[in-house]
């Protein structure tokens, strides 16, 4: 008995000592939504990219923590004079996790697969300008475009454009095989996804031996999970109003970052009375942006006046175009023929910014006579009813794709907004590579949208990063959906 006890004690001491000597090499990261599968080339869910991007899969280029384009599998590239031919030089000695070599044939396979007819790539437009992909030699890929495309290198850095191998592509949904510094280990469905260090990685080795993405869908459960230490990091923590409590706790580091999520009050421009510019302007005047930001994003959201991220250099501040002015809103409604306001419906998807923002907006619009019936919908219904069938008056949604102002030019998009002047600007953007010129065009586009009051522009969705104070290297912002763990390590 005595012996056992001292043995146990010795073991425990050894364990403690061991833990103190070397820095930790394991990590549990919390995430809200479980990815439906793990193939970023066959699904739109951000959760797929969060787990796999940069960790398991890599593309020709990659998007860095500040949103910049960095080389990845392509060590360098040259662009022809006319901007139509890109020649990528690949790193050599790169192996997929199943041991096969990466060659230019894999790149050709991946891009051809993504743009093929019948492809289920969720971001097919990214590849629309590609005319041909040629594997010039094992380490060189030549891509020819139909016309010059300013954002091509950026596009190739998306999670949807990662390079996969023909041998393993079909199985990537269940067991992803990439070239990244982490290998897929295990997926306990509904619970967690584990990745481990790839010992044969071609680039700089990662510090973590093992990382677990734990799925915690319920916000109420996320807070105790953090506080009890079960989860050591949340790239975007759904802690809501409990944030001050966590900020005040010295065990945690809280980093408020920006996302690419323009959170907007979408309006159905194709349906009366919202097809009337005056009515849409009235709605904009009736919105108290600060109150919405306080109530729906803990006061953390950055106000926006058009569909553009304030972090982008081409951003113009248009938040002053429609200041909060209920009297003016009423006057505009009367001018438009609705002196007593009108009844409408607002459909709200599940995220808290939408559900809480919706309650506040309904209360604000009621002040000017617009009575909103609140209809909460699941994502499935939202996609069907609002996004596909345009069966809605108002909705609140965060458009999280980066640089996506062009969605307003899509003819069948759910805003039902049609403006030839705007479409011209976007068309020009698509063929312009000069950065200064591009910024100019982006500014024009932002102004047109704000003037037309296409939607109610609310705020840029904040990213509430919470992690253990001793953890270093997490991304502060989310320039692309990813929980990039390649530089994450525990402080000694």
């Amino acid at each position: 008995m005595k012996l056992t006890k001292s043995l146990v004690l010795a073991t425990a001491l050894a364990l403690i000592a061991g833990a103190a000597e070397a820095a930790r090499t394991d990590l549990v990261v919390g995430m809200v939504l479980e990815p439906p599968h793990l193939d970023p080339t066959a699904g739109a869910a951000a959760a797929i990219d969060e787990v796999t991007y940069a960790n398991i899969f890599e593309g020709l280029t990659r998007i860095g923590r500040a949103g910049e384009v960095l080389p990845a599998l392509a060590e360098s590239w040259t662009i022809s004079e006319d901007g139509k031919t890109y020649t990528f030089k690949l790193h050599t000695g790169v192996k997929f996790h199943d041991g096969t070599d990466l060659t230019s044939e894999d790149v050709k396979f991946s891009l051809d697969r993504a743009r093929a007819e019948g492809s289920t790539n969720a971001q097919k437009p990214l590849f629309a300008q590609i005319a041909d992909v040629a594997a010039t030699d094992p380490a060189t890929v030549t891509i020819t475009l139909k016309q010059p495309q300013g954002a091509f290198l950026y596009n190739m850095g998306w999670g949807d454009a990662v390079i996969v191998a023909p041998e393993s592509a079909e199985g990537n949904k269940e067991k992803p095989i990439g070239t990244g510094p982490f290998k897929f280990d295990n997926w306990a469905k509904g619970s967690s996804i584990t990745i481990v260090k790839n010992p044969d990685y071609w680039g700089k080795a990662v510090a973590l031996d093992k990382a677990e993405f734990r799925i915690i869908p319920d916000a109420a459960a996320a807070i105790p999970a953090l506080l009890s230490g079960d989860v050591q990091a949340f790239a975007n923590a759904p802690v809501g109003d409990a944030l001050p409590q966590i900020e005040g706790d010295s065990r945690f580091k809280v980093v408020i970052g920006a996302t690419e999520g323009e959170t907007i009050l979408s309006m159905n421009n194709g349906k009366a009375p919202l097809n009337d510019l005056k009515v849409r302007q009235a709605v904009n005047y009736a919105l108290n942006r600060q109150e919405i930001i306080d109530g729906a994003s803990n006061g953390l959201g950055v106000p926006i006046g058009s569909h553009f991220s304030p972090a982008n250099e081409a951003y113009v501040d248009l938040t002053g175009m429609y200041p909060y002015d209920p009297a003016k809103a009423k006057a505009l409604l009367a001018e438009a023929g609705y002196p007593n306001g009108f009844d409408a419906k607002i459909k709200l998807p599940p995220p808290p910014y939408a559900r809480q923002g919706g309650e506040i907006i309904a209360s604000e619009l009621r002040q000017v006579g617009i009575n909103l019936e609140i209809i909460p919908v699941e994502w499935a219904d939202w996609l069907q009813q609002v996004f596909k069938d345009k069966d809605y008056d108002f909705t609140i949604i965060s458009h999280v794709e980066p640089n996506d102002i062009e969605i307003y030019s899509r003819p069948t998009y759910y805003f039902d907004y049609h403006n030839d002047a705007f479409n011209k600007v976007i068309a020009e953007l698509d063929v312009t590579a000069d950065p200064a010129k591009r910024n100019q065009l982006y500014k024009q586009a932002q102004e047109i949208l704000a003037k037309d009051a296409v939607v109610g522009f609310l705020f840029q969705l904040p990213k509430v990063g919470v992690w253990d104070a001793k953890l270093e290297g997490m991304w502060e912002n989310t320039p692309t959906p990813s929980i990039d763990l390649t530089e994450v390590h525990w402080a000694e």
């Binding site: 109420a220 807070i223 109003d241 409590q245 109150e291 306080d294 599940p350 209809i375 699941e378």
Partner: protein, 293 residues
């Protein structure tokens, strides 16, 4: 869950006269009656007066603690919690009443019909009961609200559907044991039709059973509503609901526990009151148990 309590234990009692006099000598009944009446008064009062307007959001005043202005504090939109509890009681009561109404309105005729006809009709009803009972109730309610969209009305339907077989079962069991009674046989011999007998003799005699079951289902309805609202499938804003208040409170538990405390207490007290009332009623109306006291 406690629907089973009644359905397995009670053979139908003959309705005692002046049972109310016995009732007010029963401490459980009195306690339950007082609590239930207080909640009902609160709900009625909320139609005419509440301390604050619950549709008015004052975001600047969010999550204030208890104070002289706001006895129960304010919620995450700066609404007065006391006012919300008052108005929310309407929702809980309405959902529970209508759900019980659906159960009685459809279940009792079905049960009586099955008892009167027997044979194939009875068998079919029992199979229908089996079918409904075989479905996990909460998950099925989730499915119903997923189809028709969340909202108070759909929550009522979802809860009400599962009340139908409960009342059908109770009514059938009660009626079956009455049909062989002498006065019923006498009425049949006198040439009265089955419908008439059911209305004149059966229903009055199973009324007390249904009353007891009703209070139990009522309490369960309130709990079920709070569960559905907790999943975001019950009453929708701006209509306050106790379950939704709890749902909104859970992420703020650590910074503002009062947000969860008051609606939780409101649910617990109401359900407790109804259960006490039901217990008291059963003691009073079931002569066998009364004899033992």
């Amino acid at each position: 869950m406690s629907e089973m309590e009644a359905s397995v234990s009670a053979p139908p009692p003959a309705a005692p006269r002046h049972w109310l006099r016995h009732a007010f000598a029963n401490p459980s009944f009195v306690a339950g009656f007082v609590v239930t009446a207080a909640i009902a008064v609160m709900a009625l009062l909320s139609f005419f007066w509440t301390p604050y307007d619950v549709t008015n959001l004052v975001v600047a005043d969010r999550m204030k603690g208890m104070s002289a202005q706001h006895w129960f504090g304010t919620d995450h939109f700066g609404r007065d919690i006391l006012s919300m509890i008052m108005v929310g009681s309407r929702n809980s009561i309405a959902v529970a009443i209508v759900a019980v109404g659906i159960g009685i309105g459809l279940g009792v005729p079905l049960g009586c019909w099955a008892a009167a006809r027997g044979g194939l009709v009875d068998e079919a009803l029992m199979r229908f009961n089996d079918l409904v009972f075989a479905f996990p109730a909460l998950l099925s309610a989730v499915m119903i609200t997923a189809i028709f969209g969340p909202g108070a009305i759909n929550a009522i339907i979802a809860i009400g559907i599962f009340n139908i077989p409960v009342f059908a079962r109770v009514a059938r069991a009660g009626a079956l044991s009455l049909w062989p009674r002498e006065y019923v046989l006498a009425a049949r011999a006198a040439g009265k039709g089955k419908v008439l007998i059911t209305v004149e003799h059966i229903l009055p005699n199973i009324a007390s059973l249904l009353l007891v079951q009703g209070t139990i289902q009522f309490a369960l309805g309130i709990l079920a509503e709070s569960g559905l609202s907790y999943l975001g499938l019950g009453a929708q804003p701006p209509m306050p609901s106790w379950g939704r208040m709890l749902f909104d409170a859970q992420t703020r538990l650590i910074v503002a526990p009062h947000l969860a405390f008051f609606p939780g207490m409101a649910i617990a007290i109401t359900v407790l009151g109804l259960n006490l009332l039901g217990d008291g009623l059963r003691d009073v109306l079931d002569p066998r148990l009364r004899r033992q006291r």
